[in-house]
């Protein structure tokens, strides 16, 4: 029973960390995809010469991103490095916090209230005053997006 409790707790921690990790990675992946779209976007135009022969004239959309194949490979490797770094960071933080709490839990067992003051120390209240001394109102303008 205790082993099941321990395993289920460990599974819950791992699941939570996985959700956080996947969330961070999906944000990172979304940024990569949008940059890929910008990189790959191009305009294909068909130009017709005097003899009605078409030649494909591909003009890339003017942007700052690289559009050739070597650029794509470089972006993919950068993306993998990002994934590994983010994974490493999340795993290290979650593992470190978990180990810290486990270690600390073994040091202080039973440090709870040693005196039941609610039961053994009754209060005979002779004076009670609550005086309003100040009222302050502040306002903040809310920026609204009109697009």
């Amino acid at each position: 029973m205790k082993k099941k409790h321990f395993l289920s707790s460990a599974a819950a921690i791992l699941a939570a960390a996985a959700v956080i990790g996947i969330g961070a990675l999906s944000v990172s992946a979304a940024q990569n995809v949008s940059s890929d779209i910008n990189t790959d976007a191009a305009v294909q135009t068909l130009a017709f010469d005097e003899n009605n022969d078409a030649s494909l004239d591909i003009k890339p959309i003017a942007n700052d991103n690289k559009t050739d194949k070597s650029g794509k490979k470089k972006d993919k490797s950068v993306s993998w490095v990002k994934i590994i770094l983010i994974s490493f960071g999340i795993s290290a933080v979650v593992t470190g916090i978990t180990v810290y709490f486990i270690y600390n839990g073994y040091k202080h067992n039973g440090k709870t209230e040693p005196y039941e003051y609610t039961k053994k120390a009754p209060l005979d209240l002779t004076d009670s005053q609550d005086e309003l001394v100040d009222v302050r109102v502040t306002s903040v303008h809310i920026e609204r997006n009109n697009n």
Partner: protein, 362 residues
Amino acid sequence: METISYKCINCSGPLQYNAQKLKFYCEYCRSEFTEEELEKHFGKLDEQLETNEAVNEEADAQDVPEGFEDFAANTVMYTCESCGAEVIADKTTAATFCVYCHNPVVLSNRLTGTFKPNRVIPFMISEEDAQQKFFDFCKKKHFLPKNFISSAQLDMMKGVYYPYWLVDSLKDGNLFATAENIRTWTEGDYEYTETKTYKVKREGKIDFKDFPHPALEGDNSKALKYVNPYDDKDYKKFTMAYLSGFLAEKRNTERTDCQSDVDNELKVYAEKIYKSTIKGYDNVKVDSCNVKTLKESWDYAMLPVWMMTFNYEGKNFLYAMNGQTGKNYGELPVSKGKLAAFGAAMFIVLMAICILGGYFLS
């Protein structure tokens, strides 16, 4: 050194108080006796506690050989009534076992005069139950060293009566605080925040009953504090017979030594009590709390604790259990190897999950 051994009326075996049966019990012939039956046979128990003054144990100082002054100052020799052996105990020991015949012995002179306790709570948890509770406590801890829970370890658990001051204190005081209520709302393009600030005062008398403070200073004082609280319902008038079969310690701090500590602790509790009456606010900040003592009385009691010390990798660990309620306090050793293996496994699994997640998303 005068000693008392409480012996079975039938077989002269050593007697020990049994909490489950609420009687004095002989392990040899399994006879059971109430306190009244023992008094009928032996006469009034602890009569010498009523008549004797506290014994001055420094009377034999002139007999101490050179170089042993420190040892002599902290120890005393007594003669076991059962086997006649001369056994040494330290200055705070009030009850112990003869190291030769293992007969329980109460050093009666340690508990006379002003050192006589007023009250005692007998052990309500037997040694077997205490060991089982400790075993159950350790079962939940998966990172203990491999051979930590062993029968040899459990055999080192000892039942000890520790001295406590119990303070009844009537305090009169007041508390001044600043409290706030915060409200926010939105109107049009503006968000408004209203903060109402109040000056709060609470005044009244607090009657503290049986506030415990350990009367033995040493490495165990933190454990002795946090095994509390004890339940009032089991307090009994003190007789030395309750100590038979257990270890016991005599106090080494007087009221004057503890007065300032007790006053500070009671002031902290007074602040908590006054603050608990301030309700209905979002924030409360205490500006000042003043408390004075109207009336105070100090009682001296012996309270039961199951105690165990153990050594792991050169460091001493202490485990204490309330001998009445079973509340645990203590520090446990952590197997660094097990913790490191768990950390490494967790790290690898998390890395794998995050990398896989990144692969499928990208």
